[in-house]
Amino acid sequence: MTAAIATLVIGVILGYLGQRSRMCFVGGIRDFILVRDTYLLRGLIAFGLTAWLAFPILGLFTGSRPGPFASSDVITILLTVAGGFGVGYFSTLANGCPFRQHVLASQGVKSSMAYLVGFLAGAVLFHGVIERLVLRFLP
């Protein structure tokens, strides 16, 4: 229950700030390539650096650090890289990362609402079909 309330509050904060700043986590790289605009790229780098510093600093208070992570084999690495590639490629074509699409849907953009419906349908498809296919055809 703690996790649910915490994520709800964090979501509201991020949604509000994301609406005010038009933040997009794939748009930074895209804008830099297209028009050499670093506005969104700075947000992406700031997120990574802040989290990288915050993990050990906040870990001092609780004595816990993230990890250990499960050892990964070649198949897992290939699936992760391929999945990551798909996330980047299709998000660029869809004109925004999932976070940006949620924000746009709350601004009344109907195509982003359709995106969110497809997002949930994709989860059903993944757990119903794709995941089983991957498990069957890979060792």
């Binding site: 994520t7 609406q19 794939v26 930074g28 990288w52 990890g67 980047g88 299709f90 949620h102």
Partner: protein
């Protein structure tokens, strides 16, 4: 499709108007919040799960289906008892931001059927990689090599997608 970067509006804001936030500020705030969620607010296991639009949406959907239909669909361990609500929160927060700044207006800049399929493709890729663009970076920041590889794949995808968009626009 509009792919140009909308420059920040430099118009003068009214004193009582909505606050201005830059992407840099959001990056810092979200980085701290994502780590706080995992460290202090029990958003774990799995590790580095503080913010993820794809996994949290999946958890919420599958938990609801499990509860109503009695199925056993996959949910992350943290969402077994009650699901994480990041997606609901982001929708509510953005609605608060857009209505308070009078930026809410109905529009449809893209073909809805096309974005529907893009949504399904992004969700499938994200669940395959174990995180959306935000969580892939969060996993890298937590020191997971696999997450860094996924993020590198994502960056490659964005670069290729951008060149594809530019090629199509200038053809």
């Amino acid at each position: 499709m509009a792919i140009t970067a909308a420059p920040a509006t430099r118009s003068s804001w009214k004193r009582a108007g909505p606050i201005r936030v830059t992407a840099l500020q959001l990056g810092i705030v979200s980085g701290v919040l994502a780590v706080l969620a995992g460290t202090f607010f029990d958003v774990r296991p799995p590790e580095a799960y503080g913010i993820c639009m794809a996994c949290h949406a999946r958890d919420l959907l599958n938990w609801t289906v499990n509860r109503t239909a009695g199925t056993h669909l996959t949910v992350a361990p943290v969402s077994l008892v009650f699901p994480v609500l990041t997606t609901i929160g982001v929708l509510l927060g953005a609605l608060l931001g857009s209505t308070s700044s009078k930026e809410f207006r109905w529009s449809s800049p893209d073909n809805s059927l096309k974005t529907f399929f893009y949504g399904a493709l992004v969700m499938n890729s994200a669940l395959l990689a174990g995180g959306c663009s935000i969580r892939l970076l969060l996993r890298s920041a937590a020191g997971e090599v696999l997450g860094l590889m996924g993020f590198a794949g994502m960056a490659a995808g964005v670069i290729l997608g951008t060149f594809w968009l530019r090629w199509r626009a200038t053809r």
